[in-house]
């Protein structure tokens, strides 16, 4: 559908990753000073892989994923550095036309509040048709039977009724599943879901999770799941990227990170959400996330870290922390000695 000229790279022994984010930084100006929303973030998404991006509010996870499709208007956002490559080809944020082709057909996106991503003045069906028309051109009518089929696949029991409804007439869970169905109809190679379960009822959350699990198993579509909810990410992602104050602080296979977190922030986060019985005390991460306009010197997590030592006044690099794992912490440095933090 969107055959791109094969770059030379593809002929190399190792095909390029599906999506490559390199040195992405995003800043905003605010009265309080420059807000460093995302700092020097790099990662790859492989074909068929599902990757979770975890972080609290203000950690930069949403800004990162909006920037993957260059969806943030600039200004106010400023991009001092950063390249995004999709299938080896650089996405140029100044070429809006080309970007529009990639959005939807190459990379699909599902937002937190899907009901708001529909136009309230038109029936859902006409908005579905519009999407098909834009992405599939003249042939779009041939695809109509697939719409019903796809809605059924996404566990919508009365697809015809939903298509006749206005966005306010369906529940949040149904709107979320329609928007996932719509993203999948265009057959994207990468689906980005930003907090897809956060605004939903419990049972709708479960439905959406099951659907994402199913998409992961049954299609070759890669998945990026952005969430603050560790349990959700744990269920769906093969690999996890943990963000704190605009930077990647840890990355690795999901099972390994949950079994043995290396960064003190990940350790604290997992310990504080570990299930305890009634009346037992939870582990508390001290303090609160930093102000992005006034980040602490050195490691952003230093003021909350129980292991902090002198060296933490400099920003650590992402250091190897086991097979396919990295973490941004001086404790992992080869030169670390018990004396430093003992």
């Amino acid at each position: 559908m969107n055959a791109m000229p094969d770059p030379v790279k593809a002929q190399a022994a190792k095909a390029p990753p599906l999506l490559e984010v390199k040195n992405l930084s995003v800043r905003f100006s605010s009265p309080a000073g420059e807000v460093r929303a995302v700092e020097d973030v790099s990662f790859n998404i492989g074909r068929g892989e599902s990757v979770g991006i975890v972080g609290e509010s203000g950690s930069g996870k949403t800004v990162t994923c909006m920037s993957m499709m260059w969806l943030l208007p600039s200004p106010p956002a400023r991009y001092p550095t950063g390249t995004i490559r999709f299938k080896g080809k650089e996405l140029d944020r100044h070429r809006e036309r080309e970007m529009q082709k990639v959005r939807g057909s190459g990379i699909g996106m599902v937002f937190q509040n899907s009901r708001l991503s529909f136009n309230p003045g038109y029936r859902i069906g006409s908005q579905v048709n519009e999407t098909l028309r834009v992405h599939l051109g003249k042939e779009w009518k041939k695809e109509l039977p697939r719409v019903i089929e796809m809605l059924r696949y996404c566990n919508i029991s009365e697809p015809e009724r939903v298509l006749r409804s206005y966005p306010h007439e369906v529940s949040g869970g149904v709107a979320q599943r329609v928007s996932i169905a719509l993203a999948l109809l265009i057959k994207p190679e990468l689906l980005i879901a930003d907090e897809p379960t956060t605004a939903l009822d419990l049972l709708s959350q479960l439905e959406v999770l099951r659907l994402l699990e199913r998409v992961r198993k049954e299609t070759s579509c890669s998945l990026v799941l952005v969430s603050h909810d560790l349990a959700v990410v744990r269920r769906v992602a093969d690999r996890v990227i943990i963000m704190y104050a605009g930077r990647v602080v840890e990355e690795g296979p999901t099972a390994d990170i949950f079994a043995d977190p290396k960064h003190p922030y990940t350790q604290g986060l997992l310990a504080s959400t570990a299930q305890k019985e009634e009346g037992e005390r939870l582990y508390e991460l001290p303090g609160h996330p930093p102000d992005l306009a006034a980040l602490p010197q050195g490691c952003s997590f230093r003021p909350r870290c129980v292991h902090a030592f002198a060296k933490c006044l400099t920003m650590p690099e992402l250091l190897p922390a086991g097979p396919e794992r990295v973490a941004r912490c001086h404790l992992l440095d080869a030169g670390r000695e018990a004396a430093h933090h003992g």
């Binding site: 609290e56 509010s57 009822d201 419990l202 049972l203 959350q205 479960l206 999770l209 603050h228 909810d229 560790l230 349990a231 959700v232 744990r234 269920r235 922030y265 604290g268 986060l269 504080s272 959400t273 299930q275 305890k276 019985e277 009634e278 009346g279 037992e280 005390r281 939870l282 582990y283 508390e284 991460l285 609160h288 996330p289």
Partner: protein, 279 residues
Amino acid sequence: MADALLTFDNVDVTFPRRGPPVEALKGVSFEIKHGGSLGIIGDSGAGKSTICRVAEGLVRPSAGRIVIDGVDMTQASEREWQKARRHISLVFQDAQGSFNPMRPVVDSIGMPLMSYTDAGKAELRRKVGEVMEQVGLSATQMTRYPHEFSGGQVQRLAIARALITRPRLVLFDEPVSALDVSIRAQILNLLTDLAKSLSLTYVVISSDPSVARHLSQDMIVLFAGKVIERAPTQQLFANPQHGYTLSLLSLRDPQLAARAELARLEDAALADLGKGVPS
């Protein structure tokens, strides 16, 4: 029955509307002992918040009885409810929104006390300071405005306001769902400590079962206005009886998720077997 602080006995709540009335609660019964705690989990629309409002006397049941501390409040007048409310506090989900942005927090925290006592300004300030220290803030911060506090701190302020009348029963409507993950443990621990040190009785409403689990000895599961399961918390999590409970709990529990998946497959198999049989 004598040592129950709050009893719901077969409570129905219906809201009139055009057409058939909305049955928000249907035959809800439970009791909470002094110093006990009850978690209420269920989906939105199940009636969780309606229970809170009935317990505060803001909504009157259309059938059934509510007894608070041995006094039957079902037919109580507004004046009697006002007296009872002194001992019942409510903490809302949206803490920031529950403070007047134009007033320093001392005014908002002290306000519940002004309706019950005619304490002077100095006395009021002393009490506000006391309760702020209790929730881990400094009394010197009382002249600040709500926007000067972080999310976790505003939640502490809301808890302080709930405690200022020295209540016996505190109702929490989604106490941590608006907070960052790394802050939640701080607030949950604070609530655990306060329950012990002030011998409070809690009702905790949450759509996140693990939050309710952490704060309550007993749990009820609501579905469409009905209690579908009631059990001591540990028992409920170890061995949920109702399929709906299993689904709710499986969302964040990998072990239960495996069980729920199995149950779903069984259901599907049964449904296949049952095809052709009129139901």
